[in-house]
Point group: C2
Chain length 455, copies 2
């Protein structure tokens, strides 16, 4: 990190001294993924100047790694020729990613510079629904005819490979239908006269173009593959997804799930690049909803006001009981939500999950109940002199056990129920569970209290 | 899913009828990653029988995908020759993964069957610390001499490639020091007489053998690479990590973070395979700790008992205020924790984060404060006839604003502070924040109440 800042300072001072040759020398030795972030720190007026210093090929690669604001700024400074050069050098799926973030006039300019074939491909890719396999695939793959010999296949790969995102898996097609795959490794090991059909793998893993990218990520992690062919309804290959794009997808999906679990509306934008108002919009609706739903807990307390006036010590345990319930329920819900997300838990496992959580919650409940009882007698009464009666301690202790039981049962059931209803299980995490559990906890507390303390 | 169950039923009925030929026919057409889970559902006595039906090569591949209990059961049923056959066919990093889960006597048997060279390599790999690059790398890569011609390089790849986990990136070494990489794609495009040194990439991305795997994952996602060389202190290549292993690492790291955020001690074991007592152990310490720390909130409430008796309506708002504080703080902390985990937020960004959260929290606080005030007047008083006085409503409303402010500030600061102290930021998520925020909320509530209601 220190290094990055020193480098940035050096470059800025070189910009001021207009020593562009020296900058070119430094940047040419660097990796594109390291150069791109430097541009985010430069002053706007310097960005196009420094960008033009980069060697052509490196420039396009750096461009693909930039934030969309910087890309937009650069495109606006490009001549049509410069724009065409950059776009021609980009992989088609990167171009589509960039276009998706640009305002309409910039999109129009990009499409104008593209060749008619590329323009058609871009438009097709743009039409796939967000978060579908089609939206992240590229159409730049090598397809082979099954009757080619290994030598002919290599000739085709050598000829076409420069423009393809991966050459290491080639797709064997017949009337565009995907009938097999063959890896360059298999081709290298085979003898030159063998036919592709003899060495191809016919048991092909593929995904449908409308498949959700979360499942695409799971397919990659399940089968340990480098590239995945994407097919349409008639099993015709329409594109491929490469593993490098999937790493980002898996990270983004995990981030989205984590955000939903914390009652935040997910966004694609990096936190530090998001303005305050946009952050507010991702958070405030949930806070409002949860605040208003807490009216219920208020109502329950109000209706038990007499009991609380008679036994004021009971009030002091409300936060502890609700907190423990929320934490216990949150543990169960988050475990199940993550299990569903990575495919460890399936819908049909609902009773196995429930049975497991019931046993865990009984054990948890007993331990906490005993510990809670001892805590009241030792810490609250002896140390803090709180004067909690034995009967009140029993009420709290029984409530703890019951709360933990119901919290965990609710926590493990709701995400599965949500999934069954076609909703996102991640939303059923701690904040929602907590609100529900708060109500359950209070009801249990007051029922137990009224029985034991005969209110 | 349906399909999987039907297949399983078919296989079980074929096992009962001892129609092993038919089973072989079905399984031979399937992918190893789909076959392995079937074994987890079979009865123990049938597992070795069905396993022996598989063609040799497929059998080893299936073996690598099995759960460790099943692997152990199989190894115990293997003759030494069978064991050697399986181990010889496995990639070295998979063998090491398997060994790490086996009891000592099984490990001894595996090491005995391995050749002295392989045994030495296994022992070296086993010695790298858990979660280090060394612990997940493989030593099966292709290394090339810089003076080879392209034709000679291909000859070497053809000769050695069968036993290497990837051949698509080859590593150019000089006295074992890594001086460059060359991809098969570049070799294919180059002319046969060119030398490796002419076409190799000298700007090599590599990681140190002790690097944390979380950072290794980040390196893959940053540079979009398929394989990453691992080097020692003297820049000598000691192994490579391939992207398929990294996908699992990224998923596991995300799962671990999510578990920590929900106050669960992370484990590697799949939820449904973990016994009830082990689950209990991952959860109960946190619940106990959080329960006992809630003593503080109880103490605060007790010390304000007189105020609560004088204004009983105040009690009803405690859950709502604490809930809102917890949710607001949780949003901020989870955002920062995830930002730190994926490298979007760095330690040096602490003041940028704080300044952003301060502005967000002021806006959030004002909105919630106004909404809370309106809610009390409309829902609580008009609809539910709660009889909250205007002064009490003002107390709640001001407390809301202050609570949200402090919760978000605490929520965004603690994870960064934890990281600075070398602790895991993920532990500073909702449950911990909530406990702290509960205390802060109550203190604010009673201070505001005593000022405005002049208690």
């Amino acid at each position: 990190m220190e290094e990055k800042e020193m480098l940035l300072e050096e470059i800025i001072s070189l910009v001021e001294q207009r020593k562009l040759g020296k900058i070119k020398e430094i940047l040419s030795e660097m990796n594109e993924a390291d150069i791109a972030p430097l541009f985010e720190e430069l002053e706007e007026k310097d960005i196009p100047v420094i960008y033009r210093v980069l060697p052509k090929d490196l420039a396009s690669e750096v461009f693909a790694y930039m934030e969309s604001e910087t890309q937009e700024l650069l495109i606006k400074s490009f001549s049509d020729t410069e724009l065409k050069q950059v776009i021609d050098n980009l992989w088609l799926d990167d171009t589509v990613d960039i276009i998706e973030e640009m305002p309409a006039n910039v999109v129009a300019r990009i499409l104008k510079t593209a060749s008619p074939t590329v323009r058609k491909q871009i438009n097709e890719l743009l039409n796939y629904p967000e978060d579908s396999a089609g939206s992240i695939m590229t159409v730049e793959y090598v397809s082979l005819n099954k009757d080619l010999t290994v030598a002919e296949a290599f000739k085709k790969i050598r000829h076409e490979g420069v423009d393809k995102e991966t050459v290491y898996t080639c797709y064997v097609t017949e009337k565009r239908r995907l009938i097999g795959t063959v890896s360059v490794r298999d081709l290298l090991i085979a003898s030159e006269e063998q036919q592709v059909s003899e060495i191809m793998e016919t048991n092909v893993i593929s995904v449908h173009v409308n498949e959700d990218i979360e499942n695409v990520g799971r397919t990659f992690s399940k089968y340990d593959i480098m590239a995945l062919p994407v097919v349409d309804n008639d099993d015709r290959i329409v594109g491929i997804i490469t593993v490098d794009d999937i790493i980002d997808v898996i990270e983004e999906e995990a981030t989205e799930d984590i955000e939903k679990m914390a009652a935040i509306t997910p966004t694609d934008k990096p936190y530090l690049k998001t303005d305050v108002f946009s952050i507010l919009l991702t958070r405030i609706p949930w806070l409002l909803l949860l605040m208003i739903s807490a009216t219920l807990t208020g109502g329950i307390i109000t209706s038990f006001e007499d009991a609380l006036t008679a036994f004021p010590a009971l009030v002091a345990f409300i936060p502890m009981l609700m907190g423990t319930g929320g934490n216990a329920g949150g543990q169960a819900s988050v475990t199940v939500i993550r299990g569903l997300a990575i495919g460890e838990v399936e819908l049909r496992d609902v009773f196995r999950v429930l049975w497991k959580e019931i046993r865990v919650s009984v054990l948890c409940g007993v331990v906490l109940s005993v510990a809670g009882f001892v805590k009241i007698l030792l810490i609250d009464n002896l140390l803090l002199n709180a004067g909690v009666s034995m009967r009140e301690a029993v009420v709290v202790s029984i409530t703890l056990a019951l709360t933990v039981f119901f919290s965990k049962v609710i926590g493990c059931t709701l995400p599965i129920l949500a999934k069954k209803l076609g909703l996102d299980p991640a939303v059923m995490a701690s904040p929602f569970i907590t609100t529900l559990v708060d109500v359950v906890t209070l009801v249990i507390y007051f029922i137990v209290a009224s029985k034991i303390l005969t209110i």
